[in-house]
Amino acid sequence: MHEVLLIARREYLERVQSRAFLMMTILFPLFIGLMIGGSVFAGRLSSSAKNIAIASNDPVLAREVAAEMEPAPRSTKPTEVIAPATDAERAALNRRVEDKTLDGYLWLEKKPGSNAPEATFVSRSSGDLFSLGGIESAIDHGIEREQLVRHGVSSGEIDAMKHHADIQTMQLRQGQLIPSNSVKSFFGAYAMMFLIYFTVVFYGMNVARSVVEEKTSRIFEVLLSTVRPQSLMAGKLLGVGAAGLTQMAIWILLISAIVVISAGALPGVTGLTSYGIHPQQLFFLVAYFLLGFFFYSAIAAAIGASVSSEQEIQQFSMVIVAPLTVGMVLITYITSNPTALPVVLLSLFPPCTPIVMFLRMSSQMPPAWQIALSMLLMLVFIWAAIWVASRIYRVGILMYGKRATLPEMLRWMRYS
């Protein structure tokens, strides 16, 4: 045990004292900070003032559609209405759009005998889906208003009849109602899932690379005369895992600090809980990172021991990346359907568990037995991975010059 700890300590210190560790420790929270800042900035941009004109051959329709248009925030101008509009006025509107004095205009042409007008939206950009959605809704409601006006109801009476309901979303967690925001929760879940994915893949591949490095530098020859290969592998996994955990702890603290500080300073950013990040979740973040790390790094150690150069590791990296990517690809489906049978089964399949189970938790806490089962299955898989990997490792690290074939690796596993 003493030698395992000595090796783990060396592996840990080598990593946390490296320049790469320092750079990653700073850059990752910076990246998350930029993402938060970027999302706030993008939100502001999309809701920035837009000057839109409405032109129609039917003045009532134009006026009522204008009444339904969302007033642009911070816009000083009311929506401009041109009705009845002529072809010359349409040409003038085109020029204004080209001159950028107008962001766009809506051309509504009502044909005799038809209630629905032909609508055309003209702007400089090819398509702004969010604006178009709002305009379509305004036209639909505008037509209703126009019909009511034609039946003698005044615009003022219509406004008085309309009520807007604001929906407040609440999440039930352990008997407590917590205000939630599905967009922010999605963002929080995505950020934490990315954290697990990134650290598991990065530190897993780090194990493979360091095994190859020690193999090519022949330091194994020196170490193996005192240390068992199994102890060498165990020490490496523990040391690299501890370095990953340290980095994750620093990131969680830094990202929390960024979110908490910016919650006061930036509108639209609130505390960690509004991102669906709860203390309980941080515990599972660490737990699933560790489970994922030990499973994949044992496989990575075996990969490192059976190849002869860093380039060859790349060919095997899909073994680690592919199962974890499944969860990332299905993120929307998993967070929307956390109790669907395929999702439950996927979350209990150990190679996918760290990402999928964690995503399920972000959306809705799974039953305790499923969490316990997922962890138990992972522990069984970790044990099996370490058992297989240590056998390949033991023989593979003394084999130089060529990549091992599958039959060779199977034969190595039989050596005892």
Binding site: E3, L6, R10, E14, S18, E214, S217, R218, I219, F220, E221, V222, L223, L224, S225, T226, V227, R228, L398, Y400
Partner: protein
């Protein structure tokens, strides 16, 4: 007491037999040379000796006991293929190696300093390994092997990469360790070094021990049929039919006597023709024995 006792050990990798029923004993306080052409099975034998691989058959005994891993704390092993952690400081590296061999950190540090001073690399202790020359790295590995004061020292090609001054420093250190009762096994291709240092040898070829014993016993198996003569005057005695493999220099000749030839008769003939200063019948060099035994094959 034999410090190393290998009894008919064998090892095969896939279809290749690396070691076949090899037996050898190394007595305490001796320097033992393990020799053989490349691929003869030397490294495979050493790896089994230090538990890196297990023999398919046969037994390994260290310190007069069946092999146990805790014996390795009493062994210092310098492999032929050696490496160091490139980004680690020399002193940290040595302390780490010392700790793996059971020393505590402070003792390892103190010993590392002493050895670095003795090997004349004290000024490089705080440098990273990657900043050092190959020769310096060799010395660090040499120190790492000896830091825990092992009773059995196993060195595979210890002088490769060292200049003559450092080879001499290494040889002195090995002789000093021997005088302190340490047992040393070393494997090398440098026959003159083996002749100078070793008490006993084992020549391995194709996984088998083909020649084994003390240096004297090994050499005594070969006839003293090589002659060195220093003379002045008529050199016609060198045309004698008993002479073969003649090499002539100014006033000196080296040759081999044919089987059954009489050295005394040749000396009498030479004395009749020339003034003889030296007529020595020497035993074959280890290099000659090596070449004769493995049939000139150096890369099996």
């Amino acid at each position: 007491m034999p410090v190393v006792d290998l009894d008919r050990i064998s090892k095969s990798y896939s279809s290749k037999v690396a070691v076949r029923e090899l037996s050898l004993r190394i007595e305490q306080g001796t320097i033992f040379g393990l020799l053989g052409p490349n691929g003869a099975g030397k490294t495979s034998t050493i790896r089994m000796m230090v538990g890196m691989t297990l023999p398919d058959s046969g037994t390994v005994r260290l310190f007069d006991e069946p092999f146990r891993r805790d014996h390795l704390r009493r062994v210092g092993y310098l492999p032929e293929e050696r490496g160091l952690y490139k980004r680690m400081k020399v002193i940290d590296q040595l302390v780490f190696m010392g700790q793996l061999h059971g020393l505590d950190a402070s003792a390892a540090k103190a010993r590392a300093r002493q050895w670095c001073e003795r090997m004349e690399i004290a000024e490089s202790m705080d440098k990273k390994t990657q900043e050092l020359s190959k020769g310096m790295q060799q010395k660090i590995q040499f120190i790492a092997t000896l830091l825990h004061d092992p009773e059995l020292i196993i060195m595979d090609e210890p002088s490769s990469g060292l200049d003559p001054v450092n080879v001499s420093l290494l040889e002195q250190t090995l002789l000093e360790l021997k005088s302190k009762g340490r047992t040393i096994l070393f494997s090398t291709h440098r026959m003159e070094q083996v002749e100078k240092l070793c008490d006993a040898i084992c020549l391995v070829d194709q996984g088998r021990a083909v020649l084994e014993g003390t240096m004297r016993a090994v050499k005594s198996r070969y006839a003293r049929d090589r002659v060195v003569v220093e003379y002045e005057g008529d050199a016609s005695f060198l045309t004698d039919p008993s002479i073969t493999e003649l090499r002539e220099f100014q006033g000196r000749a080296e040759f081999k006597l044919r089987n059954g030839a009489d050295g005394q008769a040749l000396l009498a003939s030479a004395a009749r023709h020339a003034r003889i200063f030296k007529f020595e019948m020497v035993e074959p060099s280890l290099e000659e024995i090596f070449i004769r035994t493995v049939g000139g094959r150096t890369d099996a």
